[in-house]
Structure formats: C-alpha cells, structure tokens
Amino acid sequence: MTIFGGLVAVAVVVALVLILLNRPGGGDDVSDITIAAERDPSIPASGRILGQADAPVKVIEYGDYQCPACGIFARMMEPQLVQDYVATGKISFEYRDWAFIGPDSTRAAEAAFCAQDQGKFWQFHDTLFQNQRGENRGDYSDARLKEMARQMGLDMDAFNACYDGGKYEDAVKASYQEGQNLGINGTPTFVINGQVLKGWDGSYAALKAAIDQALGQ
C-alpha cells in the first residue's frame, strides 16, 4: 500500500501544480492600454452611424468587441470601407452590438454606449478593438474600460455614473435580441439594406461585391 500511496501522492501533486499554473491573470493591469486616434472629422458621424443619413445603402455591422474576426475587420477592412463608400456618400455604416462571447463583451458594449453619450463612440470602439488580446481574459474589465475612458479625456464623473449605473444594460440586451431576431449566429454579421449578408467569407472583396450589388452597380 505504500507504493500505492506514493503514486497517488505524486499524481495529486502534479495535478495541483497544473491547476495552480492554470489560473488566469487578472484584468486590472492597465499599463498596456493604447488609445486609438480620433476619426477623420470630415466623415459625418451621428452617434454610432458614419456617413450621410440619406445614403442610398445602409450597412449595419453586428459585432462583439471580443471577437477576433470583428477586430480584424475593424482594424484592417473598415477604414477601407469608410474611404471607398462612406466618404463618397454611397453608404452609411453603423455598428451595433451582438455581445455574446462573455461578460467582457457586454461590459465593453455598455462602456461604448457611455462613450457615445459624450460623442466619442467611434474612438472608444476603435480603442476597444485596438486593445483586444483574447477572449474572456478580462481585457474589458471595469478598471481597463475606465482607464480607456480616462485616457481618452472623457468626463469621468459622467462616464462612471453611466457605466456603474448600468444605463445601457438593457440597450445591449435589446441589440442582442434584435440580432437574434434577424437570425444572426456569429459576428461580424453585416446587414445591407435590411438583408443579412449570409456566408461572408471574411474578405473585403466579398463585402464590397454585396454592397455594389445593393447599389445596383
């Protein structure tokens, strides 16, 4: 029985070491936060809608701030989309939340609404995607979101009252429900003039083709 006891002890110690090593780091480190530049003021923006209200085609993105594919879109393709279609008055582009990956997604979405109250939605949106490191790692912890707001120069009393008070909790939930009703099951999903773009292959060319089709080009 001593051999058996020894084997069990070794196994349990190894398992405990693995468990200890597996504990994720906290989300309170704010030292690596970077702030995105403000958007080009020549592009008309109203809240979370870019472009002219009477643009012939309305493109809506349903996204999740934790979703890597949304991050890739925001960083690599959206600037091109804005340049090609929003700046030329062909489309308006709106970002809506479909926060599904975890609590960080919901917190980030609510914080972005609070930044929107202060007219800083797009800079906050860009900052969130710029600080995306992984999923459910506390990238969008309360401390980090507030630090982003602070470094962006937002009125912190107003931001904290909005964020801590859960002012947009219902709005984020409603946006998710709206996406559900459209049949969305992943992000980013684009809705072009009310039509969900299905089977998007992740390329700018495919999005461009769908928009061109809606424009009748």
Partner: protein
C-alpha cells in the same frame, strides 16, 4: 495481453485522437467569423492554455505516455510492474486535472465542450483499467513477499 491492458491502450488511442482534434481546432480558430458554440467558448477561455500551451497538448502527452507505457510492458514482462505504476500515476494526475477542468466548464466558464467531456470520460476509463492492473501488480507483489 489481458483485457484491461487492451482496454487501456484502446481508450488511450481514442483519447489521443480527441486531444489531437482539440489541439487542431485550438490553432485553427483564425476563423473568419466568431460563431456561437460552446466548444469555442471553452477553447478560447483563459483556462484553455497553461503558459501558452493548449491543455489539449498536455492531454495528448498523457495519452501518448499511457500508450508508450502500455506497449513497453507488453514487450517486456519485467517492465510490467514499473510501467503499470507509472501509467497509473500519469492517468490519475490526468483524471484529477480533467475533473478540475470539467468543474471549470460547469461552474466558471458555464459552457460544456463535448469533446473535452469525451476526453475526461476516456481518462476515467483508462484510470479504471490501470487501477485494476495496478491492483493486480501490488497484490502479486504482496503475495511474493510472504
């Protein structure tokens, strides 16, 4: 080779395939769209890696060790006792860890990944088989001592 020995090997090969699949999907999530899926939630959670190494690779290591030890004791009868002891210790550590991971899925991540659960059940099966083999080894050892 006895029944339990064969069972342990077969389960370990199955486990290796499952862990291999989980490792593949861990690295192949450059997916262009983030979809709703419990496995994705589990696999992208901060618990899915230890120091940058996916847990599924640890799982593959455990299954490979069990297969290696199983083959070794099949080849050389003299290695039967030490190989069985080592295999039991490896798979017990794996089973305790798998139990912890299943607890995380249920209580912390709140999502169940069926492949992870499959791996946990296979580990449990191997633990039973290795437990029986170890019991026989220790039992034989005690009788020899008298």
């Amino acid at each position: 080779m006895g029944r339990w020995h064969t069972a342990s090997l077969v389960l370990a090969v199955a486990g290796l395939l499952v862990a291999g699949y989980l490792t593949y999907t861990h690295y192949d999530r450059s997916a262009l769209v983030c979809t709703v899926g419990n496995c994705q939630t589990v696999q992208t959670s901060p618990y899915a890696e230890i120091a940058g190494i996916p847990i599924s690779i640890l799982g593959m290591g455990m299954y490979l060790a069990v297969i290696g030890l199983g083959l070794a004791r099949g080849l050389r009868p003299a290695w039967f006792a030490p190989a069985t002891m080592a295999a039991f210790a490896v798979v017990l550590a794996g089973a305790v860890y798998a139990a912890y991971l299943t607890y995380l899925e249920l209580a912390v991540i709140k999502a169940i990944c069926q492949w992870c659960v499959t791996s946990a059940l296979l580990t449990l099966g191997i633990l039973v088989a290795e437990g029986v083999l170890l019991w026989r080894v220790l039992d034989a050892g005690e009788r020899e001592a008298f």
